[in-house]
């Protein structure tokens, strides 16, 4: 993974000092709450329902064992002993004291971490595929490009106060596991006829109140011009994006108002001025960054098909886990393993300090000392020798990470909701738990198959409900919490937004409602047909009829 040099380290240390001083001025009354707010947000610090929440940046989800241990230490020393993996691959602490935040940042800086631009109206953490660098279907490793964008976007002077937050994602694979089409900018690696690398550029995707799938405005951006083109997009947005209404301030509203064609023309006109300037990337810089992402010292192994199948036959639990929680690796004899942070009864994405320490140890013993956070709120050990898979499974079971539900209904994405977040209209964690309990039977869960269920506690959509095959949105009706259900969303390559089923439901009815929806699917599906495909074939009406049918 990328290692800071003296420049990167100094920038983070200067930031710690700067924020410590801002906090001091706020606490002494020199800086008003109103003036401090945008400053603390740009450092990931929210004032929440019960305490501040600090969001720590995990660039493109990648962490070393040392960094994971530091997160464990912070959870222990400054929080209530746990941390939360967010849907942007970051880590959140829900209970730090405001006064302690400068000290926390100081500790993070010792392991090359920070909370820079994890919130606020600026360029956020650039996200990518959690299997970057190991996926069998990868065209290019997106991580060097994420790091190049991270550096370019860190304290970019022109874009420190954008109309609204700004999220960039990169996909380097055939499958899109980075959900690029629902980002402000989505970049997809492509090769042209001459075999040269470039990016297909999507703009104006996003969730939130006005969910939109992005529009591709450039089919081939040569890699050398990546940063100047991003700069052109950001400049057009910074100058012409709406600032009068925060609900109309995302770039998607501007792209829609201008039309993607006109927006693209504006970007091209701007780009013509700055293209080929000093920000043009060269091989030296790309190689400098890429050297940190070369393959680790893989052994020349062979696939263990027969041995693993034998273990499967002997241990059905292992077979199940292997089916769901492992992912094909580009190197023979290796496999990527997802640690499920979604056992029933735990808030999705939550992990304790002890578990974090254990994960750091596992990473060192099994996976070259690195882990990845996924936007599905799980943790991945990417480089596991197949011959060690069975032993690892045993360890993961003891630690509570072996729930064989990755990609299934109970592996749901869920924001912290009204239990923690002051923006939320409704709680989301208890709904998640009720659904997980209803679908606790593994045979049933496996029979339902691939299903993404996403829950947001309000229309800010941190739980990505618009792109869930089943989406649940908490709404407030006259002071009472209700839940709106939508169906048919997808964040993959064929991105689509979910359609609202109908009137919302009370919390206690949610598990029943989801079960009815699943029953319609089970009855209507053809062999091997996924929930999403069935929905796309039969439409929303059969689901509507079942769920809203009068009780007999």
């Amino acid at each position: 993974m990328y290692v800071y040099d003296q420049y990167d380290q100094q920038i983070v240390e200067d930031r710690v000092k700067q924020f410590a001083d801002q906090t001091r001025r706020f606490l002494s009354g020199e800086l008003s709450g109103e003036d401090f707010r945008p400053l603390r947000l740009q450092n990931g610090l929210y004032i929440q329902r019960y305490a501040p929440m600090l969001r720590v940046a995990v660039p493109y989800g990648l962490l070393s064992s040392n960094q994971v241990r530091m997160l464990a230490k912070i959870a222990r020393d400054y929080d209530k002993g746990y941390a939360h993996i967010s849907t942007r691959q970051n880590v959140q602490f829900n209970w730090p004291e405001l006064e302690d935040v400068p000290a926390i940042l100081g500790e993070l800086a010792t392991v090359q971490m920070h909370a820079i631009q994890t919130s606020g109206n600026c360029i956020r953490n650039t996200t990518t595929d959690q299997f970057a660098g190991v996926a069998a279907d990868e065209l290019i490793d997106p991580r060097p490009w994420c790091e190049i964008i991270r550096q370019w976007s860190t304290f970019h002077p022109e874009f420190t106060h954008l109309p609204r937050k700004f999220k960039i994602a990169i996909n380097g694979s055939i499958s899109d596991r980075a959900a690029i089409e629902v980002h402000d900018i989505g970049l997809e690696a492509v090769h042209n006829a001459a075999g040269e690398l470039g990016f297909r550029v999507s703009v104006g995707g996003g969730l939130g109140r006005t969910p939109i799938v992005g529009s591709f405005i450039n089919e081939f951006l040569p890699w050398q011009h990546l940063l100047s083109y991003l700069e052109a997009i950001l400049r057009v947005y910074n100058r012409y994006g709406r600032r009068d209404n925060k609900y109309k301030a995302r770039i998607k509203i501007l792209v829609k108002a201008l039309t993607p064609e006109v927006f693209a023309e504006r970007v091209n006109a701007e780009w013509a001025h700055i293209k080929d300037g000093p920000t043009t990337l060269d091989n030296t810089e790309v190689q400098r960054v890429a050297q940190y992402f070369v393959d680790p010292a893989y052994l020349p192994l062979v696939d263990q098909q027969a041995a693993l199948s034998a273990l499967d036959a002997e241990h059905p639990g292992f077979a199940r886990w292997r089916q769901r929680n492992t992912f094909a690796h580009k190197k023979p004899g290796y496999v990527a393993v997802t640690l499920s942070l979604k056992p029933t009864g735990t808030a999705p994405g939550d992990v304790t300090d002890k578990q974090l320490d254990a994960i750091a140890d596992l990473a060192e013993r099994y996976s070259f000392g690195e882990v990845r956070n996924s936007h599905n709120q799980n943790i991945i050990l990417a480089d596991i020798e197949q011959a060690q898979l069975f032993t690892l499974w045993g360890e993961l079971r003891e630690l509570g990470f072996a729930t064989p539900n990755v990609g299934l209904l109970t592996d749901l994405i869920c924001c912290p909701g009204g239990d923690f977040c002051s923006l939320a209209n409704a709680k989301s964690i208890p709904v998640a738990e009720a659904i997980q309990r209803r679908f606790d039977n593994l045979d049933y869960l496996f029979d339902i198959g691939e299903l993404e269920l996403n829950i947001s506690g309000c229309m800010n959509a941190c739980g990505h409900h618009h792109v869930g095959h089943i989406g649940i949105l908490g709404v407030d009706k006259k002071g009472q919490e209700f839940y709106q259900v939508s169906l048919g969303g997808s964040s993959g390559r064929d991105a689509s937004l979910a359609k609202i089923l109908g009137p919302s439901f009370a919390e206690e009815d949610m598990a029943d409602v989801i079960e009815k929806i699943i029953n319609v699917y089970i009855e209507q599906r053809s062999p091997e047909e996924s929930f999403l495909d069935t929905f796309r074939r039969i439409g929303i009406d059969p689901f509507k009829e079942r769920v809203y049918a009068a009780n007999h």
């Binding site: 920038i11 003036d35 370019w152 304290f155 970019h156 002077p157 106060h161 100058r239 000093p278």
Partner: protein, 165 residues
Amino acid sequence: MQRIIKNGQIIDETWHLLPKDASLDGISNCDDIIVPLALWVEHSRALKARDGGLGVWLEAGEEIEEIAAELDNFQVIALNFPRFTAGRHSSTACLLRQRYGYKGEVRAIGDVLRDQLFALKRCGFDAFALRADMNAEDALLAFSEFTHVYQASSDQPLPLFRRRA
């Protein structure tokens, strides 16, 4: 007399910033004045004929392209921040310095706070009329907050990747 920060120093303000609804009436011939864009658009000939210094100021929504061909007339271009988070004119300053090669003073006015100064200076602002309650001496500390910067901008022609030792 108001004091402003200019090129990293605190100096007494000698320019008069005219309000948005200002008219030509009562403008003295020799004062240094910064006029709203509308007044310039309407009375550029009369304003050019004066002996005193001339500047223009732009509201957050006003575009620099309107006066891009006339920049030689202004010793000062002031850009208003109705709220310090209204970052539109950060781009304007970049355009003034990097595209139009403007060498005069680019001044930040309005809700200008200490914590913006480092980035604004990078964009090309060299003068800052701080919000009235700000302590100018303290604000000067902002200019040395960061030792290194990643990007090329008005203050630094090369991105860090072309400067790394």
